[in-house]
């Protein structure tokens, strides 16, 4: 379709996105990423149901360095989406819409998600090591 040669409104890339906007798109990206994580969860359960011959390679893959990096990514994405999801639920109830409040809650979400993901993943690594 031929488009008339007229000026376009400024698009996304010319803005410096505020923290709240970056966190918003991160929520969506982690959500889509976690959809793939859910498929891995089903594969893990199916492998467990299929027997040790299926479970062992799955377990080995997850314990490898690459597997651990991917699993840490999913762990952080899971807790980011969870904690930011709770932030969304507060918004749904009508709380925390002030500019400063939204920014502060965003910073809190970032900090909490990193700390909780680190702790949970640390427990996992300690269990494998011990």
């Amino acid at each position: 379709m031929a488009r008339p040669d007229r000026p376009l409104s400024p698009h996304l890339q010319v803005y410096r996105l505020p923290l709240t906007a970056l966190l918003s798109i991160t929520h969506r990206i982690t959500g889509v990423g976690l959809a793939f994580g859910a498929v891995i969860l089903v594969a893990w359960l199916a492998a467990a149901a299929a027997g040790p011959a299926w479970f062992a390679p799955m377990s080995k893959m997850m314990g490898s360095w690459l597997g651990r990096i991917v699993l840490f990514g999913f762990t952080w994405a899971l807790f980011y989406h969870l904690v930011n999801g709770i932030r969304h639920l507060f918004w749904d109830a009508g709380f925390g819409f002030e500019k400063a409040a939204a920014r502060n809650s965003g910073l809190a979400v970032l900090a909490i998600s990193v700390i909780v993901a680190g702790v949970v993943f640390g427990i996992g690594c300690a269990r494998v090591g011990g």
């Binding site: 969506r28 959500g31 889509v32 976690l34 959809a35 859910a38 498929v39 969860l41 089903v42 359960l45 199916a46 467990a48 149901a49 027997g51 040790p52 479970f55 062992a56 377990s59 314990g63 762990t75 899971l78 807790f79 969870l82 999801g85 709770i86 969304h88 639920l89 749904d92 949970v120 993943f121 427990i123 996992g124 690594c125 269990r127 494998v128």
Partner: protein
């Protein structure tokens, strides 16, 4: 607007027709929120359980899934995850795919694939839970 309509998110006409402005009422919105609330405790439980199970042999994992609490909560988690996921990915598709047939095909694929994946997950858990 009367106080009755102000208390609901739906208009009177929308209620009569059983449809909202988005042609589906608020069921999508509520479905996403309810599954989100359900998953807050479920995900915390699941993540901690997996961390505790890290590196565990098949036998240990199967024994964990066999316990009634884990089996029930895993099924609950799978249902909530895939319901929430199908709604969420649907919105992402609707936001970015504007060719009608492509949008429809993708949404249908995501819905059916989500249902199938959830069934495989639930079946796997039940097979272990009820297995010898």
């Amino acid at each position: 607007m009367s106080s009755q309509t102000a208390r609901t998110l739906r208009t009177r006409l929308g209620r009569v027709r059983g449809l909202g402005s988005a042609k589906e009422g608020v069921a999508h919105w509520w479905g996403q929120r309810l599954t989100a609330i359900a998953m807050v405790p479920l995900v915390v439980w699941f993540a901690l359980s997996l961390a505790a199970l890290a590196g565990a042999p098949h036998q240990t994992v199967v024994a964990w899934i066999k316990s009634p609490l884990a089996a029930v909560l895993l099924v609950a988690l799978l249902v909530a995850v895939f319901y929430h996921l199908a709604l969420g990915v649907q919105v992402v598709i609707e936001d970015y795919v504007h060719t009608e047939w492509r949008k429809l095909a993708l949404v249908i694929t995501v819905k059916l694939a989500s249902a199938l994946a959830a069934l495989i997950g639930v079946f796997s858990v039940l097979r272990i839970a009820f297995g010898a």
